[in-house]
């Protein structure tokens, strides 16, 4: 997969996490089909890493529930995502993958987006820390597409 597409996706995701809608809107609207796939992979990698960094391997369901309650109240709004969907996507990425099997792709994507924003805001990540997160995600996406390309 081309590096420009990954870089463009990183800029879009950074604008989203920084709430820079003036940058986010045109870039996000201009994604073509292939770039959407790259952006989806980058978003997934960033969410995967952010969630695992936030909760770790020893987290409990109570930790997730507590975080979701706080995130809906303070970071993303209660109407943006339901608590159930938010808890499902977080627990799924932490190892319980089957929890999202009954969710629609749209609901799952919306919940993941809200939880990624909430994690970044809850951790009060700086711009450099967001860049570091996206750099790791971009490297994982490159490796992922390289493995996919060999098949």
């Amino acid at each position: 997969m081309t590096t420009p597409a990954i870089d463009k996706s990183a800029r879009i995701l950074k604008a989203l996490l920084a709430d820079d809608m003036d940058t986010f809107r045109p870039l996000h609207a201009g994604l073509d089909s292939d770039e959407r796939r790259v952006f989806a992979a980058l978003f997934g990698a960033a969410f995967y890493k952010a969630a695992n960094d936030r909760f770790g391997k020893d987290c409990t369901v109570a930790d997730v529930i507590e975080f979701v309650a706080e995130a809906r109240a303070e970071h993303v709004g209660a109407d943006t995502v339901s608590a159930e969907d938010a808890e499902r996507v977080l627990r799924a990425v932490l190892g319980e993958a089957d929890l999202t099997s009954g969710m629609s792709a749209y609901a799952r994507s919306a919940a993941e987006t809200a939880m990624l924003i909430a994690i970044v805001r809850d951790a009060a990540l700086s711009a450099d820390e967001v860049d570091a997160l996206l750099d790791v995600a971009a490297q994982q996406v490159r490796s992922f597409f390289e493995r996919q390309g060999r098949r």
Binding site: L16, L17, A18, D19, M21, F24, H28, A29, L31, S33, R36, R37, F39, A40, A41, F43, G44, A45, Y48, E74, H75, V76, G77, D79, T80, V81, V93, G95, A97, S104, A105, Y106, A107, R108, S109, A110, E112, T113, A114, I117, V120, R121, A124, L125, S126, A127, V130, Q140, V141, S143, F144, R147, Q148, R150, R151
Partner: protein
Amino acid sequence: MNELYGASDTAAPASDTSAATLREIGSRQGSADTTRGRPDAAQGNSSGGYSGADIEALLAAEERLPESRTRQDAAADTWSDTTDDLADSQWTTEYDGDLEALLATEDHLPESRTRQEASAATWDDTTESGDDDPGSFSGDPASEYDGDVSALIAAEDHLPESRPRQEAATVTWDGGGQDGGADSGSAGATSGTPDTATGPSSPDGEGADGTPAPYESLVAVHASDGSDVPVTVAYLSPEDRTLGDTTPTGIGRKPTGEEFLDMESEGSADGGLDRFLRERTEEADDLHDALGSVAETVHDLRLPGPPGSGHAHEGHPVHEPMPPAGPGFTDLAGSTALIGVAVLTAFHHWIWDRRKGDTQ
């Protein structure tokens, strides 16, 4: 034995040199013609044409001549079910030579033949019980074979195993097989084993130990509906097995490149991530729409954003319209009216206090 003597008798004049040699040897060894306890028919031979030395020489030559025939016959007898026990064989009744030497020699002769036959018999599914099949001895190996029995049994321990493993491989690749095994009665090759009766290709390049070389064969397996389902069965050499596979040969199949990559990705620490990313890319359009919607919603809420964003915590989207004001009532008018009422009330109290003071 007498026939042999006769043969020797007739053969001796054919070669004067040999006869002379025999006489010379006999003269050197003397006339001890009863050595080794042989019943010397020559002693009672009325012809008296042979001396003790000649007989001895003939016996010495005879030890070699019948031996070659013994090897052939012994090998043939080994693979014949009709072969009687050695004690009943013609050799014990007709040959009174060096029996121990003969038996000792015979112990070694059939062995190479036996291993070859054992290997072939292992792949021969149609071999009748007790017929050339080392795995179907009738309980007492010594009654059927008096050679290197221990070696044969040791070989037998390994040889028949390849068949069940191939059948296991057949079952593995047969998703619809009801009976779960290859039908040995189906036409052509069965279970991927070369069948000498049905005549499929036998593995080329058989190893020194009798193990067949790697090959693949198409076998027919009965499905649940009775139809034959072609199944490819692969027999692989130990070199083709997967890493870490310590099981004997014939049970594993070397994975393809794609399968190896799958195993690598699923088994690695990033296996879950790969699966997660694969799902995300497959739902890229849904993610694109959902992410745009959530981004706009969260932005409009103007909840505490990331550091430096400067958003205030207002608690509701800014695009949401303000609560409608009542008719003819605005915040400014209300505030003015309240202020006016307050001012009037305060002035009224001040006037009231002044009047009260004047009257006192």
